[in-house]
Amino acid sequence: MGTAIAEQDLDSLISEAAKGEKYPLARIISEIEKPNSFGFRKTLFTRLNGLGLKERDCRTIGFTGTPGAGKSSLLGEISKRFLKETQEQRMAIVAIDPSSSLSGGSILGDRTRLSIPARESRIYFRSQPSQLELGGVNPYTYHVIRLLRFFFDLVFVETVGIGQNEVEVSRLTDYSFLVLQPLGGDQIQFMKSGIMEVPNAFIINKYDEEKLARASFHMLRSTLEFMKEISASGNLCPIFKTSVLNQTGIDELFRFLQDIPKGREKPAETKEQILKWTKSEFGSFGIRKLNDISLDFNLPFEELEERIQKYVLDNVSHKRE
């Protein structure tokens, strides 16, 4: 049950989770997902280190796209290959589902399209209701990923959306894919929103109706070639063509996933997430205040969070005096 975890129980939950037990891990994640989880997180990450656990050499990968693009089914196929072609490794999927706006409840349907063999300890799947109207990342998703890095070698974050959310996922993960369906009108949307540069690679999924899919592929490539000319890096990003129905392109994608290079260095990521947190917590006032203090982004997130909180609040009260 999602009852609060007593501090003395935390160590044993962590050790069990490290052994691959799913229920202890699930309980820790629930605790992170609570709104005021700061205290818990602080203890948790301290204890993780205290118990001598280290982040694995983990890759985090974002999968974003419109509803119906087939992200979950594709991840299901990737899971199958993962189980077949790796031995000791473990992978996790965090699927963020858009929620119902009226009553606030939601139906988390991604699991329907992805089945994990019973008692399979090498794959962990977790749904999160999205707290935003159009899908996207939750405030706590980042911290869940931080935790998963201790236990998994590959972590996927699946989100729904068009627009700003892609940016968020790409900030959270080492590498991000935009999953499109043939001529769903998706790419036009993406061009309009001007975020074509954000994903590292594209997947045209449901590449089973040959003609449609090919037209889609060429349209996307010509757009990207245009982007390449105006972009700084000058690289053309990869486009994968996959079909779950015909089982094509998935092996290729899987091999690519295994060789994905590590993304940004840790401090850069921490800095970005701290800025995001500060902005949502204190707005531009908070961001301005950050310029006053020097922060070492090698420090744990919670420590930085605490410092900023204190500094900003102190400054607000000074002002009022």
Binding site: M1, T3, Y23, S106, T112
Partner: protein, 670 residues
Amino acid sequence: MEKKDHNLYDKEGNQTKDRPWIFRTYGGHTNARETNKLFRENLSKGQTGLSIAFDLATQCGYSSDHKIAGPEVGKVGVPINTLEDFRILFDQIPIEEMNTSMTINGTSMWLLSLYIALAEEKSVDQAKLQGTTQNDIIKEYLARGTYIFPPEHSIRLIVDMYEYCLKNIPKWNPSNICSYHLQEAGATPAQELAFALATAMAILDAIKERNCFTKEEFEECVGRISFFVNAGIRFIEEMCKMRAFTEMWDEITKTRYGVENPKYRRFRYGVQVNSLGLTEEQPENNAWRILIEALGVTLSKNARCRALQLPAWNEALSLPRPWDQQWSLRLQQVLAYETDLLEYPDLFDGSKVIESKVAELKEQAYTEIKKIEEMGGAIKAIDNGYMKSQLVKSQAERLSRINSGEQIVVGKNKWKEALESPLMEGKDGGIFKINPESVQEAIKNLEKVKKERDSAKAEKALQRLRDDAKNGKNLMDASIECAKAGLSTGEWADALREIFGEYRPSTGVEGQKLALESDKVESVRAKVEKFLKENGSRPKIVVGKPGLDGHSNGAEMIAVSAKHSGFDVIYSGIRLSPQEIVQTAVEENADVIGVSLLSGSHMELAEQIFAELKHYKADIPVIFGGIIPQSDIDSLKKMGVKEVFTPKDYDLMDIMDHIINLCLGDKVAA
């Protein structure tokens, strides 16, 4: 002789009576031997056709010795593994004289193949065989859940059967367009008309595409399409629906398929009247409901059913006993033989009221058919989840009306006080239980056949099945060869699973809403908010439908209601193992697991669920819902089930209130 409008005359002009419809009782349980005994008893009581109920394992393509089959063997029907079971099932029954209806879908081709192999053994010319394999895969995807293969492969099997039957067993109905389960799943009359006719059109289009018939043969083939329809308590509207069906089928076969012979355009249908509206409360009232529903499909001569099977009064409580079935059969006999019903021509021809109602239903149904056609036909409307979501929506609306009291159900939401029913007082408590030991007989028979059969011959037959499946040949011959070689249901289905794959359709629950706002809803939501405040997250419920039972309406309504109340809901559809359901609940750290079951195997599945929870050392509370007899409720609770809901708990918000209390209570205790 002067002819009178109210009399019926034959071709020679003599006054006559209409022939009664075929009387059927849907039956089968435990094993082939017990079911054979039941059939022979029923036939001696005046039943005129057989209607075989198969157990869920047989329906889903698993042999009785498969792990997933375990809890289901012999429960809702007879287990059939090999030809040996058919030999026992039809022992001393003259199959050449029988009209045999098989309620079988995913494995239709296999059961027909067994029947043909049996006929050959008994030296009965297969051309003499008469009957129906239900074989309507579309409603399986939508409502009943015993599909195996993806739609395109399932349709191929159906078309294979049409091709084979037309040439070899002309009196067999290879498939039966089945709207029965659509109504059970919530379909309105117009939806029932539209979805059933769109399904028939999908089958005929596929047959046409194969181009294996001459024009005359194709017409004949259209004539073989029969329907299996539901009849609910709004019996005037239901009668109008039957008239609308008759007219629309005539129009569609004529204009769309150019069938010239009116005989082949006739809408032929069988009926099982509605089980959905039968209540667990004051169950004796169901006897009247069944009578009224039977009138709906017999009153109008022009739209009268060709075969009728009635449920038993106690179906909402458990599987019926032989006596309960006999009581329903007697109703049919009284209606057909004691009353003057069959002496008149159509009673409603010329009625303005009826004509206008029929016209309205037709118009609504044609509009819906057009919508489905624009999507690319019935198969597309399954694949994109459209039909399913429409049904879930209608069902949610129906339940909302009952919950708000707008739709009266006597004894359920009105006039609830009643005297104890003496019908429930028998020493069996008015319910039927199968003997678990006699189920073993099916498994023993299977083992014996496997041991004694010529294994080289069996392997050869199986390989031919795989090869023919791969290279697109008609699979009937290969299947009959498998039947003769002593192969089993599971082996046949597995070979085809290898080639065709397995299918998981849309659950239809995403994006659905309840049209229910009341103080009760508000009170439940307030508790959910309290939970949210105390725990920082919404209560999370995993709704599970374990095992082979595919009747998912209950699970879907719980999922939609929970979302309506503010829960986060995880529902992954039917046919999951208890292991998969518990794994989901564990990974998501769910606050409660809700399990829905109608097949009677709740005890076995509860055991498996608790064993699995123990494996994960997880203490997530479990609740059960479904057709569960009172006597089992206590045992389930002893096992650790926190709450058990049955059909009498129709008030969705009462159920939600119990569930949220459970979630809150657990928090307080811990």
